[in-house]
């Protein structure tokens, strides 16, 4: 089973740092630019990457990430290209924890077992499927069994309204990290983020993989406040995608702005 996320959390914990995990969409706006973006994120200090696997109908995402998905698919990139890009990043950064967020139909269309086999082959550590709740994970299409067979971490989302039973179940399944949803709704920076400290405490108590807080975290100030909820790190997606959207015409500015953003966010996760 992939250990890169676990190793990274141990290393950060010794340094009293939280993890900063930027989220961007694979092949947005195209394969080559996306490769440069990913390299910039890592070289500016990202502790891990969570990458969006483009889908035509991202129903858990707000307008910013919807547009990113659309740009990526409009470039003509396909499932094989997304895997190839991940493989290139893996070769460049052998210890970097990498996860993807992928809607279930993309997994099912490739064949669930084949999807996880491909994930393992390119060196992917973890897969998060936002539209498969834990009670559907192993009903008929056994996502969990395929993931384990190919030694890929299954990451689950824990919502702030999770019942005790749900928190326990999620804690028992999720590997690598737990995506702690800060609030209801969809991704985006238009609404502030929530601080579900009780749920975060319970996840720890039930031995869940370390929590990363996401949804609505966009500034270094947000990051500092978010780190006080007791999570192991934070994820920022729409804020990164907004920079990409704004600087589509100017690749140099795009990369330097992203780099400055990652540095500032990373600094904010260093606990004093």
């Amino acid at each position: 089973m992939s250990q890169r996320f676990a190793d990274k959390f141990s290393e950060l914990s010794l340094k009293h740092e939280g993890a900063f995990v930027p989220f961007v969409t694979l092949c947005d706006p195209d394969y080559e630019t996306s490769l440069s973006i990913l390299k910039t994120l890592v070289e500016s200090g990202a502790d891990a990457l969570e990458l969006g696997f483009p889908f035509s109908d991202p129903c858990a995402d707000g307008p910013v990430i919807q547009k990113a998905n659309k740009r990526a698919l409009s470039s003509g990139a396909r499932t094989a290209d997304f895997f190839h890009l991940i493989g290139q990043i893996r070769q460049l950064y052998p210890t970097l924890p990498i996860s993807i967020l992928v809607y279930s139909n993309v997994v099912v269309a490739r064949g669930i077992d084949k999807f996880y086999a491909d994930a393992q082959a390119v060196g992917l550590d973890a897969v998060l499927i936002p539209d498969v709740p834990f009670n559907m994970l192993s009903t008929q299409d056994d996502f969990c069994a395929c993931a384990r067979r190919h030694e890929v971490n299954v990451v689950l989302i824990c919502p702030p309204n999770a019942s005790d039973h749900t928190i326990r179940s999620i804690s028992g399944i999720t590997q690598g990290y737990t995506y702690m949803l800060s609030r209801f709704g969809i991704t985006g920076t238009d609404y502030s983020f929530g601080q579900p400290v009780e749920v975060i405490k319970k996840l720890k108590e039930y031995g869940a993989a370390p929590s990363l807080l996401g949804f609505g975290i966009s500034t270094p100030e947000d990051a500092k406040i978010a780190m006080q909820t007791g999570v192991a790190g934070i994820i920022a997606g729409s804020a990164c995608e907004k920079i990409i959207e704004r600087q589509l015409e100017n690749k140099t500015a795009l990369l330097s702005e992203l780099s400055a953003y990652v540095k500032a966010m990373k600094a904010a996760t260093r606990l004093s």
Binding site: D57, K70, A109, I186
Partner: protein, 409 residues
């Protein structure tokens, strides 16, 4: 785990973000409780009968079948308050929303019929109402947009993607994920995540129950076919449910658009692949990679790249035959029923009628009794159809030239 089985064979399920599961559990519980509550049942049937106008008649066509031995009966859901079968199930869902203490209802709509039904029940029962509708559909279904606004609903045009029903569904799901604590998502068809396909079927099956009784009274025996159009599939499942245990042949008619073998169609069961979309495992129009394609139909209400999961199951089991009718065949049926019976059918329902007409023409000497679910009335379509018929040279100053429409059979 859910209390009711979320699957139909391998289809269905509850493929939604974890955050929505508590809301769907709450809905399932409310539905289970309501089913056994005499007060709920009484309020539901009171609204169905005295507000919506049930039972709807079963009308025998007088002229359309002349010269053949076919009898065509029309189940007149077009006469239901609101103008379509949609009203049946919004009453049920609105009463569930009331039970759950929700104050706001959201819905997606394609042709606008479900939006209108949602708006009217929200006006009656005092819910705040937001309707998501693709921007292309708000254009081609203008009369319904006004109806919804008139009854107090806020209509939000959705401009992403192809701006039709698929995008409206995504947008409604997003709203639901943010606001489910006080908002009920009134899904308009027998699709989406569990428990929606089951709830919508249970509130629509009254159509088939009435047909069953009426046809025995009128005709003395069961029909030789029940025919309904299939977009998401709520009017079809409503018609079929009471006949599933009989031997009556059942036909679901999908939109073949410009042709069943062209890329411009919406025949999901015939041309789709299995996969997960809109919360359920079913058939979808999609690429090899699982990206959902745009569907196409002249009829906004059938323009949907997925289908309710029970239809997927009934296709595989062979109990229902899923066939199709093209835009042109539906247009011909639309004009013929208007001319010969004085009934303007919805473009959606015109697909079902077109298939009955085809069965009649293919076997003029066969004594056969066909029941068509006339799921809605066509007033909402007249402007759009008028434009199309004029452009095609079918409608001219000297009348209608139906020979200029192309039939696929």
């Amino acid at each position: 785990m859910t209390q009711l089985n979320p699957f139909f064979g391998k289809y269905g399920g509850q493929y939604v973000p974890e955050v929505l599961v508590p809301a769907l559990d709450e809905l399932e519980q409310a539905f289970i409780d309501a089913r056994n509550d005499p007060e709920f049942k009484q309020e539901l049937s009171c609204l169905l009968n005295k507000y919506a106008g049930r039972p709807t008649p079963l009308t025998l066509c007088r002229n359309l079948t002349r010269g053949t031995k076919t009898k065509i009966y029309l189940k007149r859901e077009d006469l239901l308050h609101g103008g379509a079968h949609k009203t049946n199930q919004v009453i049920g869902q609105a009463l569930l929303a009331k039970r759950m203490g929700k104050t706001r209802i959201i819905a997606e709509t394609g042709a606008g019929q479900h939006g209108v039904a949602t708006a009217l029940i929200c006006a009656l029962l005092g819910f705040k109402c937001t309707i998501y509708m693709g921007a292309v559909d708000t254009e081609r279904q203008k009369p319904n947009v006004f109806r919804m606004r008139l009854m107090g609903a806020e209509v939000k045009p959705v401009t992403v993607g192809a701006s039709t029903l698929k995008e409206a569904c995504n947008e409604a799901l997003r709203d639901y994920a943010a606001n489910f604590e006080h908002t009920h998502y009134m899904i308009g068809t027998a699709a989406g995540p569990h428990p929606f396909p089951t709830i919508v079927r249970e509130f629509q099956k009254i159509i088939g129950e009435e047909i069953h009784q009426q046809i025995l009274e009128e005709n003395g025996r069961l029909p030789d076919a029940c025919i309904a159009c299939v977009g998401g599939g709520s009017n079809a499942i409503g018609m079929f449910t009471d006949f599933l245990e009989t031997k009556v042949p059942l036909y679901g008619v999908e939109p073949a658009g410009l042709g069943i073998n062209t890329p411009k169609n919406g025949a999901t069961l015939r041309n789709g692949q299995q996969g997960i979309f809109f919360g359920a495992y079913s058939y979808n129009l999609q690429t090899e990679d699982g990206q959902i394609n745009e569907s196409y139909s002249i009829s906004a209400g059938l323009d949907f790249p997925s289908v309710g999961p029970q239809h997927a199951y009934l296709k595989d089991s062979g109990r229902v035959s899923y066939v199709s009718a093209t835009d042109d065949e539906a247009l011909e049926a639309f004009v013929l029923l208007s001319q010969q019976e004085g009934i303007i059918p919805a473009m959606e329902s015109s697909h079902a009628l077109a298939y009955a007409i085809r069965m009649m023409r293919e076997h003029p000497d066969k004594e056969q009794v066909l029941v068509v679910n006339l799921s809605g009335r066509g007033d909402k379509d007249i402007f759009n159809v008028s434009n199309i018929l004029e452009q095609r040279g079918v409608s001219t100053a000297d009348g209608f030239h139906l020979d200029r429409l192309k039939l696929s059979y």
